[in-house]
């Protein structure tokens, strides 16, 4: 599964690397010009990508430090004429948290159960293939399409309780419930892939040993398999979280784009979840020149906070990956795509 980790210890890599001085056979100087050009381009391409990533982080850090004030994190957004009057982004922060929570609550059991069923039971096999294909379809579907699907779904009369209904009888279809449910679809593929890869990496003899002492399959899953793939699930959850907090399209379409969280109904917790609001991503979106309020300083500050979250989650994934030592260490393609 993981290319990067695999190639790490490749025996040939180091000594064949012409630039590291170990190229015993031929030094690049004696190569034809086209080969030298290709070599130069490979180095340029690799370093260019690193440079772009570095530039983005550094630029956002500079802007973030320039514009981010601690008060912004604690103030609720407000309507105002100038950037000093429009408050901070407490509500968007909460919104991001709520959506992450709902998304994970739905996606984690779904992803882990599917992975368990497919690797441990998977009968009939055509049904297993359908499930696996479905998850791949979800992974490949653009988030804007998922968002439109969510809108259509939550505007049906059946799901009206999850959002607010206008006096005319039209279901609004936009709420934390709606956005969170669709977020779970975004988080599902990495969660499933990470858990499945972990389960597949558990050696067969561990299962056989458990069966030999008379454990049932489900007991083996609970006592042997789940504990040994805990770190894989953690990786999946982390990847899922970074998907959720980075997604904008779903929030734009399904959370109503109100500045503050606006609860619907009188029950405190449920009312909030039925209501509309915003997240960090839509806060950035709304405050950029593309949105309504042109407040680039606020947008930079919020985008910096967002990027820091993503960076932290990335570090966590790297950490867990290193502890696992082999599978899924770094950026396993399934996790990125």
């Amino acid at each position: 599964m993981n290319a990067f980790a695999q190639s790490k210890g490749g025996p040939g890599a180091q000594q064949l690397s012409p630039a590291s001085g170990h190229g015993r056979r031929s030094s690049p100087v004696s190569w034809r010009w086209i080969d030298r050009l290709a070599l130069a381009w490979a180095w340029t391409a690799g370093l260019l990508l690193c440079l772009i990533a570095g530039a983005i982080v550094v630029y956002m850090a500079i802007r973030g430090i320039q514009y981010l004030r601690p008060a912004l994190l604690a103030e609720r957004p407000a309507v105002g004429a100038s950037q000093s009057e429009t408050g901070g982004f407490l509500d968007p922060l909460e919104g991001t948290g709520i959506l992450t929570l709902i998304g994970l609550l739905l996606a984690t059991p779904l992803g882990v159960c599917s992975a368990l069923w497919i690797t441990e039971y998977g009968r009939p096999s055509w049904l297993a293939r359908i499930v696996e294909t479905s998850i791949e379809v979800v992974a490949g579907t653009p988030d804007i399409v998922i968002a439109l699907f969510g809108l259509a779904l939550f505007q049906t009369r059946l799901l009206a309780p999850f959002s607010f209904t206008a006096s005319g009888g039209g279901v609004f279809g936009r709420s934390f419930f709606a956005a969170g449910a669709m977020m779970s679809l975004i988080a599902l593929p990495p969660l499933f892939a990470a858990t499945r890869d972990g389960l597949q990496a558990v050696p067969k003899h561990m299962r056989e040993a458990a069966y030999a002492i008379g454990k049932t399959r489900i007991a083996t899953i609970r006592r042997v398999l789940l504990p040994s793939v805990r770190s894989n699930i953690a990786t999946g959850v982390t990847l899922g979280v970074s998907r959720i907090i980075g997604d904008t399209a779903i929030v734009v379409l399904l959370l109503g784009l109100t500045l503050r969280s606006e609860p619907q109904g009188s029950v405190p917790g449920i009312g909030l979840l039925r209501g509309t609001g915003s997240t960090l991503t839509t806060y950035v979106f709304q405050n950029s020149p593309a949105g309504e309020g042109a407040a680039p300083q606020k947008a930079y500050a919020a985008a910096f906070v967002l990027l820091m979250f993503v960076l932290a989650l990335n570090l966590v994934v790297g950490r867990i990956g290193r502890r696992q030592s082999d599978e899924l260490g770094l950026g396993a393609a399934g996790a990125i795509v």
Binding site: A3, A19, A53, D143, F149, L151, Y300, A303
Partner: protein
């Protein structure tokens, strides 16, 4: 009842339960296709497939759609979406063309050339590039690249020349393509690296033993063996670029103008509009049934394109199994 719950699960029951939970995803996918198709149906009903074609004025058409209110007459559904489809194909195609050589050689660098310590830095950094939210890319685009292109790259004479048709203010094809390329390159790098690393080392060593220099050996043997995976990576990246909505909405200008290749270099500085960004643009006003149906028709188009591309990516990778290259 409680007694039953306290008992350890039987295998049979566990299998049933896990299977049922797994099937939810399948149901969701079917529901997704069904919901989007049902909502898109009016457009197909009134226009057949002709809404995919050129002609007409899209700006007037969408305005008419919004103006018709709750009960749209059949004429309101009339639509010629070709400019949007063209914009989508154009930005996606150029972005993939730009990203492909970058991704292939960056992958060669990571898998074959980079010293171990540099590789240990490059991999997490490129992974970070893949996880930067699209709204952050959009923000940098709209606040840094767009003004830069508008103020320093496009000359005043160019602006004046096209002023009557379109405003060349930096919201442009070139910015869209460059950022899209940066966004899809890490995805391609991940897939290509996986394939390059799974090519047996002995093949390359054999090529070197036959007298090729190390780089030639990589290009002629390793990259060649991984060619299906490279194509598949490009295909999957295409699917990703097609559906990018927020970033494109922020930097492409979301203009009804389509870039004209006949305009020379200015072509790259002209604004455009894509399917996904159009959905974002009209998301608020989607209560008019005609417009709503058109948006769902766009979504259906995106859904089927990404589906077809996923299948294509899978099929292209099949030959790799023949070589026993794991990918």
């Amino acid at each position: 009842m409680l007694e039953r719950l306290r008992h350890p699960w039987t295998d049979h029951r566990a299998e049933r339960t896990l299977g049922a939970v797994s099937l939810i995803v399948g149901v969701v996918v079917v529901a997704m296709v069904a919901f989007v198709a049902v909502h898109a149906w009016p457009t197909f009903e009134h226009d057949g497939l002709s809404w995919l074609g050129p002609g007409g004025n899209l700006k007037d058409q969408t305005e008419a759609m919004q103006a018709t209110g709750a009960h749209a007459p059949a004429s309101a559904y009339h639509l010629n979406a070709w400019p949007i489809i063209y914009g989508t194909l154009l930005s996606t195609g150029l972005a993939v063309l730009l990203a492909l050589p970058l991704a292939v050689f960056a992958s060669i660098f990571i898998v074959e050339l980079a010293p171990r310590r540099l590789r240990a830095i490059a991999i997490p950094v490129i992974r970070l590039l893949a996880s930067v939210p699209s709204v952050v890319y959009g923000l940098i685009g709209v606040l840094v690249l767009v003004p830069f292109v508008g103020n320093h790259i496009v000359s005043d004479s160019e602006k004046a020349k096209y002023a009557s048709e379109v405003q060349l203010n930096g919201y442009s094809l070139i910015v869209t393509v460059v950022i899209l390329a940066v966004m899809i390159t890490p995805i391609m790098v991940a897939l290509i690296c996986e394939a390059l690393a799974s090519v047996p080392k002995a093949w390359r060593e054999g090529a070197i033993a036959l007298g090729l220099n190390p780089l030639r050996a990589i290009l002629a043997v390793v990259v060649r063996a991984a060619r299906p995976a490279i194509v598949a990576a490009a295909v999957l990246a295409t699917a990703r670029a097609l559906g990018e909505a927020i970033m494109v909405f922020m930097v492409s200008g979301v203009n009804f103008f389509s870039p004209r290749p006949g305009d020379g270099v200015t072509f790259f500085f002209e604004p455009l509009r894509t399917l996904a960004s159009t959905i974002v643009a009209f998301a608020e006003g989607a209560s008019a049934p005609a417009l709503r149906s058109a948006l769902y028709a766009f979504a259906l188009l995106l859904l089927f394109s990404s589906l077809a591309l996923s299948v294509a990516g899978y099929l292209i990778k099949l030959p790799l199994r023949k070589y026993q290259v794991r990918a």
